[in-house]
Amino acid sequence: MSQALEGPSDEEAIGRVLSGDSDAFRVLVERYQVRAHRLALRVLRDEDAARDAVQEAFLKAWSALGRFEGRSSFYTWLYRLVMNQCLDARRRDKSGRHVALDEGGALEQARGVDAEPDPEVDGVPFGPAAAVQRRQLRQGIAAAIEALPESARETLWLREVDGKSYAEIARTLGIPKGTVMSRLHYARRQLRERLLEDGLVSAPE
């Protein structure tokens, strides 16, 4: 993830934008656009629609920045804007052009990038057989994620990918902390059971 980790803090950047420095908004865009894009892609499953949704969400963030009160992090606030934008887009677009997440590498093909798996994972190279296995696992995960209820899926994503704490997830989704824990537990159990059923992971001994 190529986030701009250096530079002014979110708070400083927001303060500068509100003082009239439009370019300071770039810091926020570059810092969060990858996460925002992946979130939109997970919901919309369409590259163009995801790109549009993220762009719209950032424009809304720009216009509404004066109302951002700093009660939550900027990303939590942006997350809601992106999510709302995606849900609006999904309501508007009933064309069914969405593809399943990673269905046969459809996303990679749609982006015009090589659908072959990476030559290494966690720094460990692996051969063609392992690559096939890995691809199957990825597709299995995609299908298992697909089968999860949206609420469980987003909770899991906020924890595992965005690295948010239970309290932050609770604030982001507007649910109690206990619900975060149970949704995570449910999502993980479902994923593992599905992967076990598909023979993609082995059962604990």
């Binding site: 992946r38 720009w62 982006r111 995609a142 537990h185 604990p204």
Partner: protein, 198 residues
């Protein structure tokens, strides 16, 4: 909740870094002793790795996003703070904590009372600093209708007000005793007689 569910939730919370102190210690000890718990933890970690790896394959976003946005920003409503109330609250939050720390360090509570003017005390707008038996107070003669009094109440002089008001026993305790700091009401200050503080 079943014991097994509790155990799994604890492991999950451990994996997510949500446990602290003794609970973390006990779960860590169980993981060290119980191979099944260890396998469960490894499975959680592996699943997390797979999800992050899967997410990374969803792409790096739109490198041209800023260029596209920059062209559109001038046509959008310019963001602006609506006075100081619309500025982010980070500064206020920090100032609040600093203030709270200072207040705690000084062991002083400030009670504010807006009182009907009991009489012709001072000209409107005048400020008086009072000290009665070590009990400091600031009196602002707001106008002919009201007097605003800030009473600085410390634990070592709680009750002094009662003495100054010549009340035999007040809510803060008898004169000269210590007691919990609490806001002071107009009745506490002026008693039933409604007389002047000074």
């Amino acid at each position: 909740m079943r014991r097994e569910d509790r155990r799994l939730l604890d492991l999950q919370a451990y994996h997510d870094g949500e446990l602290s102190g003794l609970r973390r210690f006990f779960v860590a000890r169980r993981i060290a002793r119980d191979p099944a718990a260890r396998r469960e933890l490894l499975a959680l970690r592996a699943l997390g790795r797979e999800l992050r790896s899967f997410d990374a394959r969803l792409g790096e976003g739109d490198p041209a996003l800023w260029s596209a946005l920059r062209d559109q920003l001038p046509t959008q409503r310019r963001p602006a703070a609506e006075g100081s109330a619309r500025r982010p609250r980070f500064g206020m939050r920090a100032a609040g904590w600093l203030g709270a720390g200072l207040a705690a360090a000084a062991a002083v509570a400030v009670a504010l009372a807006v009182l009907p003017n009991p009489g012709d005390l001072s000209p409107p707008g005048s400020l008086r600093w009072l000290r009665s038996d070590g009990y400091p107070a600031v009196v602002l003669q707001d106008d002919r209708e009201a007097t605003i009094i800030w009473v600085l109440e410390g634990s070592d002089n709680a009750g002094a007000l009662e003495k100054s008001k010549q009340r035999p026993e007040g809510p803060a305790g008898p004169a000269g005793t210590t007691g919990p700091v609490r806001p002071i009401s107009p009745a506490d200050l002026f008693g039933r007689a409604g007389g002047a503080l000074a």
